[in-house]
Symmetry: C2
Subunit: 152 residues, 2 copies
């Protein structure tokens, strides 16, 4: 199942290999909204139906969603997120926050947090609680032969 990816060995690349195809993350977004049926997902993402079929299958075999038959005759199916799929929520929130700031003029969806406020998401370091800034991070490449700069 684990493919050989080109370039630097990297969890980002591995993640994109599973959920980086066109429409995949939007399908996860919709299923996360509670829209479990094929036609809803197709309408709300705008994905062509054949592409959506293909994406739902790869997401399923990647363990991100589950397909459940809810009617025998006629056969009908619905989709739901697995634990892995639910945890993609952080990725979607990060993308949404970035898109709100850099890709749209005004946000189309806001989230109310149980604290009562609209969510303003931030990334922190769990150890010290500080918000992550670019300058505070030093990467350490563990893969042999790959430094930050590249193969030797």
């Amino acid at each position: 199942m684990r493919e050989e990816l080109p370039g630097r060995p990297c969890s980002v690349a591995a993640a994109l290999n599973l959920v980086g195809e066109k429409w995949s993350l939007l399908a996860v977004r919709e299923i996360g909204f509670g829209n479990r049926r094929f036609d809803q997902i197709a309408r709300n993402t705008g994905a062509p139906r054949d592409r959506l079929t293909a994406r739902l299958r790869t997401l399923e075999s990647a363990g991100v969603i589950e397909r459940r038959q809810y009617s025998q005759r006629p056969p009908r199916y619905e989709y739901q997120l697995t634990e892995a799929g639910r945890e993609l929520r952080t990725v979607l929130q990060a993308l949404r926050a970035w898109g709100d700031k850099w890709a749209v003029s005004s946000p189309a969806t806001v989230f109310t947090h149980s604290c009562g406020h609209d969510v303003d998401p931030a990334m922190i370091c769990r150890h010290c609680g500080a918000e992550l800034a670019a300058e505070d991070l030093t990467p350490h490449v563990l893969a042999p032969g790959w430094s930050r700069e590249g193969p030797s």
Copy 2:
């Protein structure tokens, strides 16, 4: 510049429209590592050179990276992240964290935070400081005609 996207109006879709093509985020990752030259980026991402050329151009016109000539003769160029590009780091960290957990057996890169620990990134609500959990978020769709479920 702002295209008409299909499906639900959404910052996630808008963000993916700018940085969701194949190789784009990996190119941003490399430039963020300080690898500013075309050949380095090509080697370290594994992207075909012609695709990389195309991606770097769209990332440039999306305002995520800048292209700078560093030598007149012979003409040589390098790339660097803009503010928008640097802020994609949160997306990359979220993807990396997810990939570490669900897509690889062991992480290939860790980041040391200035607090001295390896980074264990988490998403929090800036208002109350609590870590974001799926159940605590209620989406409000602002776009007219689009509820969570879809167009009416």
